[in-house]
């Protein structure tokens, strides 16, 4: 069965921790049950003393029982701690796996799925799936373990009475199982109706204006009251089933208790058992019947959670972006007058849309400032993204310093390009770290140098916490121009031979625009700078202007 397979697969994710985890479950539950056994043993001693009319012989036994009880509960708590630790370790491991995976897809994945959507679904699924480890599995195992412990203890105290009781419990269990199906069906109907009612309410509230103008016949209220009647009818059915179940359970419970005591009395009368044994089994019996009813009850929940685990497995199995080079390829920067970038006969179009490029070729010379121009929608940004390998071209090839991108592999291609997107993303870390992400081993001094070249140093120093300012909400406390300059600093720090910049379309203030322009001017001739240009000033600054059509 695939459910067992998935459960095993989930458990296998715990690797070498699995035996410890399972042992912890068994021990914490068994010891917890044993604790209750010591309670009933204590009762047995009390009753035997009462029967005999003296306590002198049993004092030590009483103390030993209490000490044993405390010891079992202490040990059980230790295992509980181990269990929880392992469960949490696994939960976080699952989260890490999923979060790391979520960054390894090709760019098209992120364009198709909204980031908030990806995350909320992932969070929900992992929470649900990790529930297997932190609760569901234990809840299925615990009643089995406890019932076993209780049954063994009772057997030791008095086997015959125990068998009678277990037979009683089996019958009770059967009744509950028989009634659980119609109960579940009613429960489902109730939650369906409940959802419908909630819909009517939320329609009335969210669409208040429309409701007020259009619903002059009170159809909303009438619909609600009609569903409410149906809901009430379903509740009545559940009430009857519930009352029946409670009556049978309660009655049976009473029957068992009283019958058991009657049988116990007969046994005592005939000398087959002591009054203490009857008392001990009676106390254990309450726990046993409670746990007995739990058998199998939690299984559906576990199955439900396994479905989420399967979704996580599917997610983890999704194809990742392949960044490896095709062949082992040593890259040497070409000399002098070679083209930094060359698109050769490329064909590309977005899914089921017209081809943006059919057999297009462009050449961008090295160490020049190149401006790409063209009307909006002509594919300027797409050209940049193709270079970064965010999309795969259908045919043709792109060459970086004369080497085919396909052979270089995405990692090496991206290492050669420092990209400044139109709306550069600012991570929720300090400005220092935001720039340093370009090169993890850069010293503070290098970061500051890069910021100076990007005309960002001045304004950063003016901030209250300078370079340690944490950028929250994508850095929206900064102006667009300031964010742009931090992104340029990031690009400079990367020290890649090609700087690829998508100029912001939204208006920067004059000051910022000049600052950005100056920064770019400073890079000219040291690097190949490719600008997707929207502004006349930028185009005027360029060595080469390429019109994309």
């Amino acid at each position: 069965m695939s459910i067992t397979k998935s459960l095993i697969k989930s458990l296998k994710m715990m690797e070498n921790r699995l035996p410890l985890y399972l042992l912890a479950i068994v021990m914490m539950t068994a010891l917890g049950a044993l604790f209750e056994v010591t309670g009933s043993v204590f009762m047995k001693i009390v009753f035997d003393c009462a029967g005999k009319g003296s306590v002198t012989e049993s004092k030590t036994a009483m103390i030993i029982t209490i000490v044993a009880g405390v010891a079992t509960i202490a040990l059980s708590s230790v295992f509980m701690c181990v269990y929880n630790n392992e469960a949490k370790r696994m939960t976080l491991k699952l989260k890490i796996l999923v979060f790391e995976k979520s960054m390894r897809f090709p760019m098209t994945y992120y364009e198709k799925h909204h980031s908030g959507e990806i995350l909320s679904k992932l969070l929900y699924d992992t929470d649900m799936a990790s529930n297997i480890f932190s609760a569901r599995l234990r809840r299925v195992m615990a009643p089995i373990i406890s019932v076993t412990v209780f049954a063994i203890a009772m057997m030791i105290i008095n086997p015959f009475m125990t068998i009678v009781l277990i037979v009683f419990n089996m019958m009770l269990f059967l009744i509950n199982t028989l009634l659980s199906k119609p109960m579940k069906a009613v429960g489902k109907r109730l939650s369906e109706k409940n959802m419908l009612m909630t819909n009517v309410l939320s329609n009335m509230i969210a669409g208040a204006a429309i409701s007020k103008i259009y619903d002059t016949n009170h159809t909303g209220v009438l619909k609600y009251e009609k569903i409410n009647d149906e809901y009430t009818a379903a509740q009545r059915v559940r009430m009857c089933l519930g009352a029946l179940l409670e009556t049978l359970n309660g009655g049976f419970d009473l029957l068992c208790a009283l019958m058991f005591i009657v049988i116990g009395i007969i046994f005592v009368g005939q000398g087959l058992s002591t009054i203490g044994e009857v008392a001990a089994i009676y106390t254990l019996y309450t726990s046993l019947s409670w746990k007995f009813l739990q058998l199998g009850k939690n299984f559906p929940e576990l199955v439900n959670r396994i479905a989420y685990a399967e979704r996580i497995f599917d997610f983890l199995a999704l194809p990742e972006e392949n960044k490896e080079p095709v062949s082992d390829y040593a890259f040497r920067q070409a000399a002098g007058d070679e083209n930094a970038v060359e698109y050769r006969n490329i064909v590309f179009g977005y899914q089921d849309k017209e081809k943006l490029f059919s057999n297009a070729s462009y050449e961008f010379p090295a160490n020049k400032l190149i401006a790409l121009t063209g009307p909006s929608g002509c594919g300027k940004s797409t050209l940049a993204k193709l270079l970064l390998g965010f999309y795969t071209i259908e045919s043709g090839d792109v060459f970086l310093f004369g080497k085919s991108v396909k052979q270089l592999g995405l990692s090496k291609v991206r290492a050669l390009i420092a990209y400044v997107p139109q709306e550069p993303y600012m991570y929720n870390v300090s400005i220092m770290d935001n720039i340093r992400y370009a090169r993890a081993d850069a010293s503070e001094q290098e970061v500051i140098e890069a910021a100076k070249l990007a005309n960002a140093h001045e304004f950063i120093l003016r901030l209250e916490n300078g370079y340690d300012t944490i950028l929250v909400n994508r850095g929206n406390s900064l102006s667009g121009g300031e964010r742009q300059r931090i992104a340029i600093a990031r690009a400079i720090l990367k020290d890649a031979p090609i700087i690829l910049m998508d100029e912001a379309t939204s208006a920067l203030d004059n000051e910022s625009e000049k600052m950005v322009a100056d920064a770019i001017n400073g890079l000219k001739s040291k690097k190949t700078v490719i600008m997707i240009a929207h502004r006349q000033t930028t185009i005027r600054m360029a060595d080469v202007v390429k019109a994309i059509t």
Partner: protein, 576 residues
């Protein structure tokens, strides 16, 4: 609908059911005591070395069982009926009140009301069908069994009454400490999610700079931090668990030792010891559960209070006039010297929310446009027309009758409204188009959709008119949603259409439809709040609003000639 309703008064209406359930609970507890007495006698007889009449004992036991089963059944039915009836009535009253609540309330509270109301209603259900019956049963059994125990020996009762509060109190304190730690943990998990979101949102930069690994490390670091926190929390939790369990054992040890002492002193018999065991089992869980149920009940009462507050929220004013068929008033709408200020305290948004000396009259079939800079009061004017707000001064006549004398629903049946942000219900397209009408007329709906220029699109969908829109259904563009919203207005076939044009850019099709709606000559009057002055060149009259006042009235040509505000707005749009 001025009758004052509260959840309490509804509960009182059905209270007899609850009382019967309470009495039955009492009888049931008594039966348990009766049973324990039977056992006491039997054991005492045996301990004295005499034989007992097994047949008689079994016979009497059976009777107790049968009677208590029947009583349990009836008791459960009564208790549940009470909760079901109260729930049904409360829900109906809630929805009836909700329909009539003043529009401004929704504007202010829409999001919170939905979230709270749904959970409040379910809380109320839990309170009525789980918590209250539990409290009832626990209280009754604690009292009856306590009395039986006191009768047996007051020392036993004293043992219970002293130990239980101590135990409950101390375990509560321990549990509270743990909860405080748990709260801190919640925050840390949110931080983890924030980092993950940050990573995904910045994926473009991450890919371009090849720093996926570096960013992944942030997740790992945070996860390690959480794990460390979890470990210490787990230690606390295990410690608390051990302590609580051990403490909970104390009452039973102390009480049984007391009873044992009494047996040895020959104050009570061994049989009574057995009865004690049975009764103790029946009282110990109610004793430890009752305080928590009371706490739960108190929490859920907050939800009930919120529902009551909602029911008590001021309703829309409505009078009795329902119009007559041969309506022959000259003006469909007439406003004379109308002024409006928002009552209440939110001064900060006063701009664009007040109107002064508004004079408007609209005849059947006229096409009217309202223009003006944002904050001029255009939307406020629409709200007055719809009766969402009441005029503060001056007079507003609908079909010659003062609006305040109209039955609010009858008045609104004369108006179709297309809001700026077209709102579609998460239902099928057909249900959206025919929304609020008593019967679904597919032919009429098709006609309305054809006029609204959306029929073709609907036919392309796999489920046609039965396609669900909204979160679970098909995604429609803004223009398509707008056109469905227009189809809804056309379907209603009211003599007045109010159309609030969206500010965001319209697609060509929608713009065409709006122009068509304005130029088609029929009986209907149309009032449009226009943002694109190009759509309204052919309307009968344009009212130009500024700072809550009508500054210019006239046709497009006249207003251009006046060279005032309208001409300035028109020029700004790039027309010459």
């Amino acid at each position: 609908m001025n009758q004052k309703y509260s959840v309490k008064s509804i509960a009182l209406k059905y209270s007899w059911l609850f009382v019967v359930a309470g009495v039955l609970s009492y009888v049931l507890s008594k039966l348990v005591i009766k049973g324990s007495e039977l056992i006491t006698d039997a054991i005492n007889t045996i301990m004295d070395g005499n034989a007992i009449d097994i047949g008689n004992l079994a016979y009497r036991t059976m009777w107790i069982i049968i009677v208590s089963m029947i009583l349990t059944f009836v008791k459960t039915l009564m208790g549940e009926s009470f909760s079901i009836k109260v729930q049904r009535d409360c829900k109906n009253i809630t929805v009836e009140s909700l329909e009539k609540i003043h529009y401004g309330f929704f504007e202010k509270n829409a999001g919170t009301v939905i979230n709270k109301l749904t959970s409040d209603i379910s809380d109320m259900g839990t309170l009525l069908s789980e918590i209250l019956p539990d409290i009832l049963q626990y209280t009754v059994s604690i009292i009856t069994i306590s009395i039986a125990l006191i009768k047996m020996n007051w020392l036993i009762f004293a043992g219970i009454i002293v130990t239980f509060p101590v135990v409950i109190f101390s375990s509560e304190i321990i549990a509270k400490r743990i909860n405080e730690l748990a709260k801190k943990r919640r925050g840390k998990y949110d931080e983890l999610a924030d980092i993950a979101l940050d990573n995904i949102e910045g994926i473009e930069v991450a890919k371009a700079y090849g720093i996926e690994e570096v960013l992944g490390k942030r997740v790992t670091l945070k996860a390690d931090e959480i794990l460390k926190n979890e470990y210490s929390r787990n230690r606390y939790q295990a410690l608390a668990n051990g302590l609580v369990q051990a403490i909970k054992w104390v009452p039973s040890i102390i009480c049984s030792l007391i009873v044992l002492f009494l047996v040895l002193k020959n104050v009570i018999t061994v049989g009574e010891l057995m009865a004690f065991l049975v009764l103790f089992g029946k009282i110990s869980s109610p004793l430890s559960e009752l305080p928590f149920r009371v706490i739960d009940a108190r929490e859920m009462m907050i939800s009930v209070k919120r529902i009551e507050a909602l029911i008590a929220t001021p309703k829309e004013a409505s009078s009795s006039y329902t119009g007559n068929e041969s309506e022959s008033a000259k003006n469909l709408i007439e406003m004379k010297n109308v002024s409006f200020t928002y009552a209440g305290d939110d001064k900060q948004s006063d701009e664009g929310r007040t109107l002064k000396s508004i004079d408007i009259s609209i005849k059947k079939g006229e096409r009217i446009a309202i223009v003006g800079p944002s904050g001029a009061g255009k939307s406020t004017l629409f709200k007055l027309l719809c009766g969402f707000e009441q005029v503060s001064g001056g007079e507003y006549y609908l079909c010659g009758q003062p609006f305040s004398e109209w039955d609010i629903n009858a008045a609104r049946s004369l108006i179709s409204y297309v809001p700026q942000d077209s709102f579609l219900f998460p239902e099928t397209i057909l249900e959206n188009v025919v929304y609020g009408s008593k019967d679904m007329d597919l032919n009429k709906a098709e006609k309305a959709c054809k006029s609204a220029g959306i029929y073709q699109k609907i036919c392309e969908l796999s489920d046609k008119f039965d396609t669900e829109v909204g979160e679970r259904g098909v995604k429609l563009s803004g223009g398509e949603r707008q056109r469905i919203s227009i189809a809804r207005a056309l379907y209603k076939n009211a003599p007045l259409i109010l159309l609030d044009e969206p500010t965001s850019s319209l697609d060509e099709e929608t713009e065409k439809i709006i122009s068509k709606t304005l130029s088609e000559s029929d009986e209907r009057a149309v009032i449009i709040i226009a943002h694109r002055l190009s759509t309204i060149k052919n309307v009968d009259r344009i009212y130009c609003l500024n700072q809550g006042e009508i500054v210019e009235v006239g046709s497009h040509e006249e207003l251009i000639k006046q060279n005032g505000l309208y001409a300035a707005l028109y020029g700004k749009e790039g027309h010459n």
